[in-house]
């Protein structure tokens, strides 16, 4: 079977517990290549845990996760292979404060992809231009605003040329006036055809960019639909309640 017809992410019956607390309850999800998915839901619904299972920041205990043809098991080689293909952007950026912006960007390409330094820096500068902060290349993350740091974080994950990029509430820790600059970058990224999974409460972004919106509650996928249908005709009562709370 040619890989391009398979879903790029396939989750079957994935469950996850933190101690006695069950964070994910039998998640079934297939993500197509190039698909842009927004995941929303109340806090504690398991949406962050779900995407963190995809690159093994969290380990699932039941079910099966296959990413681009590689099944996630305990095998370190497989995990590292998957992480090379899956980029991630965090709520708190997680940039490396002791390295300059440029060094943050070239670290992965140089050490993981074994690129020559000059090539890695060239790529890094290209992505810094794409997120519109090439002039900050030689500063340290601590010298940048939150919005700039998050754009650096996006550029950092892009430098690894991932097939999939995961966003874990990328705008939740930002001051309101900086949300837009990050969303703009994400929107332009969506136009490149990369597979995106985005946990966010930015419903404007979901409407504009997503192919599919997933609503989670209590560790389950409660409802999923196109943004059009999801926002105008929510089926489930919990979805309706959630939407009424966040859309005011």
């Amino acid at each position: 079977m040619p890989p391009s017809t398979q879903p790029i992410i396939q989750m079957d019956g994935v469950s996850k517990w933190f101690g006695k607390y069950q964070a994910l309850r039998g998640i079934d999800l297939a993500v197509e290549r190039g698909e842009r998915i927004v995941i929303c839901g109340p806090s504690g619904s398991g949406k962050s845990t779900l995407i963190r299972c995809i690159n093994r920041l969290e380990e699932h205990q039941q079910g099966r996760i296959v990413v681009d043809g590689i099944e996630l098991t305990g095998d370190l080689k497989d995990i590292e292979a998957i992480r090379r293909e899956v980029g991630m952007v965090f709520q708190h950026f997680n940039l490396f404060p002791h390295l300059t912006v440029l060094q943050n960007l070239t670290l992965g390409p140089i050490w993981v992809l074994k690129q020559p330094k000059a090539q890695a820096e060239e790529t890094a500068m290209r992505f810094l231009e794409r997120v519109r902060i090439p002039e900050q290349a030689h500063k340290y993350p601590g010298q940048l605003s939150g919005g700039q740091q998050q754009r650096v974080a996006i550029a950092r994950s892009l430098c690894m040329s991932p097939k999939i990029i995961l966003f874990d509430e990328p705008t939740s820790a930002l001051d309101p006036e900086m949300v837009k600059e990050v969303l703009d970058v994400m929107t332009s990224l969506a136009e490149t055809g990369i597979t995106m999974l985005c946990v966010t409460h930015e419903m404007g972004f979901a409407r504009q960019v997503a192919d599919r919106v997933i609503f989670m509650d209590q560790g389950q996928i409660v409802e999923q639909n196109t943004p059009e249908a999801f926002f105008s005709r929510p089926q489930n009562d919990r979805t309706k309640l959630f939407l009424s709370q966040i859309l005011h």
């Binding site: 093994r56 920041l57 980029g87 404060p97 601590g142």
Partner: protein
Amino acid sequence: MSPGPSTIDGVLEPGRSGSGSAGPPAPPPGGRAKRVGGGPFRDMFSSPLNTVLTLLVAWLLLMIVPALVEWGLVRATFVASSAQACRDAGGACWAFIAEKHRLILFGLYPYDEQWRPLVASALLIGAVVASCLRRFWNKWLALIWIAALVATGILMWGGVLGLEYVENTRWGGLPLTLILATFGMGLAFPLGVLLALGRRSRLPAIKALCVVYIELIRGVPLISLLFMSSVMLPLFLPEGFGIDKLLRAQIAIVMFAAAYLAELVRGGLQAIPKGQYEGADSIGLSYWQQMRLIVLPQALRIIIAPLVSMFILVFKDTSLVVIIGIFDLTQSAKASLADAAWPGFSVEAYLFIAAIYFVFCFAMSRYSQALEKRLRTGGER
């Protein structure tokens, strides 16, 4: 320290962050501003208690300093051919140091060959200084160290290149102290880092091993470790399989320092937020890459001050090898007192080596402060 601007900033800081973007900062309260201009003497008499303390300290200084100057400089003897000349003057006998400095600095090393430990010491100090300079933080440093160590070995032992062979039981004084300290720190540091990482390992066997090692070694004084290495270790080894006494002492120092360093490094590791590991995971770095590129550089920077403290301790603790009969700087100073022609100048001898220890320790302390300042990246979170 400059009392001016920093004090003003300190006073304003809470108000500024509290009011957000409330416009330009308010001027400092009048009283504060006046005190800033007062200089360092203003606080000495600012309250009855401070006045009393100031007077007390002034009185003590008046008692001590003139007497010290009188003894150490005014009535001191710098050049004398015999101990009697010193005694007649009544002050410090620095002529004793002039007479005995070769013995104190180089111990029992053959007198005519003492240029060799001198050069070796200079090479070791040079290599340490080079390691401290940022411009050498590259591949050259490894070469510098290899060259320095090979040269030191050749110079100290000899037996090649026409140099007379000198057994290491005849080594002594400052070079020996430097060798014990340099190798002690140089080997204990990587070992301590590995132990700290091991103690946080997810593999139970490695974790247990590291915990047992650290707790065992930390629970024993260095003196008893040195005794054990010198007395007990030979009992366990097969006959004829003797490890050199100096090497055993060196191993004991390394093992001891590594256990303490491990706990220091662990403290630094615990200060690194989980997000740093996740960020490193997300770009696919392996465990060792994460440690080397992300975690350790940050963790070690946090612990620079206690780390250098530890190095200073190791440097001074090398003097404990005295108890197993190794002739380090302290022991050679003691030996210099045994000369019947120059009896009773222990104060001068110990002041001399104290000054030597101080120079090295103070240099390390200053370097740690400079390093902390240099490695500060803007707007540290």
